[in-house]
């Protein structure tokens, strides 16, 4: 097992490195940061001067090395808009996003897992049809529209909840619900089909033949087998949650890095964009790594190899 973890750890490091490379390449090769940093009226000489000063004329490798070594020291350049180091601008807003994402994740599990199991156990019943319809709809509704609709209903019409910002814990409800719903729908669907498949297996018959109660058969024997699938799905959900955070934060004016990302893109604040992308992608890699470890713990086959 340690060998497997070690291998995955190495892969994660490589993945993170690959991400920095891609980010660097896209920013510096596909786009031209200089043009974006200066007003359109800047002359060619001014652009050249800035290019020289900021080291953009150096060979790409040198630039990359500079980028990498700075990055490892936490120096990602200066934010154009905030006049502070890009990294601190971003780090300030990370807690808000983490709160949002974690809450949304918990909500998606709280909704997704019970409905997935119920739906499979009471297959083809009215409850099952209802759950499946909601799950399907959950995957079709664009998150930003859902957020707006919820806002319209709960904040504007009913005035129960605030529309934006993070002044109180109340404000967390609508955004995390919006963010979590798509995930919940996905979990419901996957869990349902997985459970149905598992419940058709012979070892479930054996469990029943031993006289075990239905709840135990389902929760102990069936569900544990479904867990590995859920874990994989959950890993992918994190990506969706991070991406979805961008939109949800924009809709609800939530002060997190998602919103910052959109603002920075619109303001051409590339240093900040760079940092955010790297942080988000890295966290995704880290979460996947953790998921892999959990998977190991559950599945004895890998443990013993």
């Amino acid at each position: 097992m340690t060998k497997y973890i070690g291998k995955r750890f190495l892969q994660s490091i490589i993945a993170i490195w690959g991400i920095t490379l891609i980010v660097f390449l896209v920013l510096n090769v596909a786009g031209d940061p200089i043009t974006l940093m200066l007003p359109p009226t800047a002359s060619f000489e001014e652009m050249e001067a800035l290019r020289q000063k900021l080291g953009y004329n150096d060979p790409l490798i040198v630039q990359y090395w500079r980028f990498l070594s700075n990055a490892l020291r936490g120096d990602f350049g200066q934010s154009y808009n905030y006049n502070e180091p890009a990294l601190s601008v971003v780090l300030e807003r990370v807690p808000a996003t983490v709160t949002l994402a974690v809450t949304a994740f918990i909500i998606s599990l709280l909704i997704g897992i019970p409905t997935g199991i119920l739906s499979a156990v009471k297959r083809n019943s009215v409850l099952d049809t209802m759950i499946r319809s909601f799950a399907l709809l959950g995957q079709c509704v664009p998150a930003f529209w859902l957020g707006i609709m919820l806002m319209l209903f709960f904040s504007v019409k009913l005035k129960w909840l605030p529309t934006s910002g993070f002044q109180s814990w109340n404000a967390l409800i609508l955004p995390s619900l919006t963010l979590g719903l798509f995930s919940a729908a996905t979990i419901t669907r996957m869990l349902r089909s997985n459970m149905i498949e598992i419940m058709g297996k012979e070892y479930i018959d054996t469990a029943r033949a031993k006289g075990l109660q239905n709840t135990i058969v389902i929760m102990k024997h069936a569900f544990k087998n479904a867990l590995s699938t859920i874990l994989t799905v959950m890993g992918l959900q994190i990506a969706g949650l991070l991406g979805g955070a961008v939109i949800t934060e924009t809709v609800f004016a939530w002060p997190g890095i998602g919103r910052l990302l959109v603002q920075s893109i619109n303001n051409s604040d590339f240093m900040v964009v760079e940092v955010i992308v790297i942080i988000m992608a890295t966290s995704f890699v880290v979460v996947n790594f953790i998921v892999d470890i959990l998977y190991c713990i559950i599945n004895p086959r890998i443990k013993l190899q």
Partner: protein, 278 residues
């Protein structure tokens, strides 16, 4: 096949929705009552007909007096164009990469699979945003992004099929009586791969439609003059208190379209499934 459709009403509904939207997109110029860009500040923010509006603007008008119905109809063009082209591109890239990877194996395979892994490590909306940010707003860029975000699933499918076919003993049997690679591909690999690819295509289309809408909502999609449902939502949001329908209607359009794609995809999966070799 028709029997299966008739039995499966949701699949039928999905296909009907798709046909309506496609038709809308194709005949937009003919059926839209107004020019979607035509502004009429006298009639701005008019409510839809069921909320006190006139029959002239059945779905109301936006903040610049543009007819919502026409903008919805024209918006379907972008949606369908991006959905189909994006899917086709994703398919082309994916199938090629998957085929090369599976067929040639060894380090080619290793490299391509690493790329797949790294790309999967990247939340795709992040990728889309990032590329959109750097490359700017244009229709081609969005289609490109759609292609890049979705090729991975096709690659894995094709590669998987090639690998499993490679293992099968009957391939040895065919080879031993002189069968050639081309024939093997034609008759053994492609038929098995078509069904899951088609199912994957419909699911991918749903993702692409949502992705385009999200990007347009954030202002990073197609150029701002082109009417698209995501953009309409973003604009409508500012006027939510005056005319909430501006924000509701485009969302309904998106949801219904994605629903149609998903229903069709689900039906296709069930229909094609019994024929798939496990």
């Amino acid at each position: 096949m028709w029997k299966s459709l008739k039995e499966n009403r949701t699949g039928m509904a999905g296909i009907i929705i798709m046909l309506i939207v496609i038709l809308m997109a194709l005949t937009a110029a003919l059926i839209a009552p107004f020019d979607p860009a035509k502004q009429n500040l006298m009639a701005k923010l008019a409510p839809p007909v069921w909320s006190g509006g006139t029959l002239e603007h059945i779905l109301g008008t936006d903040q610049l007096g543009r007819d919502i119905l026409s903008r919805i109809i024209y918006g379907s063009r972008v949606t369908m164009l991006v959905a189909f082209s994006g899917t086709i591109w994703a398919g082309i890239i994916g199938i090629t990469m998957g085929a090369v990877s599976g067929y040639y194996g060894k380090w080619v395979d290793a490299v391509i699979m690493r790329i797949v892994d790294i790309q999967l490590s990247f939340p795709f909306i992040l990728l889309a945003l990032f590329v959109a940010a750097v490359l700017g707003r244009s229709l081609t860029n969005i289609i490109l992004i759609a292609g890049i975000s979705n090729w991975v699933q096709y690659a894995r499918l094709v590669r998987g099929e090639i690998l499993s076919v490679k293992e099968m003993e009957y391939i040895e049997a065919i080879r031993s009586v002189g069968g050639k690679n081309g024939r093997i591909i034609m008759f053994h690999i492609i038929p098995n791969v078509i069904s899951p690819v088609i199912v994957q295509a419909t699911l991918g289309m749903a993702r692409i439609i949502l992705m385009e809408a999200s990007l347009s909502f954030l202002g990073l999609g197609v150029p701002l003059e082109i009417p698209t449902w995501g953009r309409m939502l973003a604009e409508g949001r500012d006027f939510m208190l005056t005319n909430p329908w501006l924000a509701i209607i485009p969302g309904v359009a998106i949801t219904v379209t994605v629903l149609g794609v998903n229903l069709m995809g689900d039906w296709l999966r069930d229909y094609l499934d019994p024929k798939l070799d496990v």
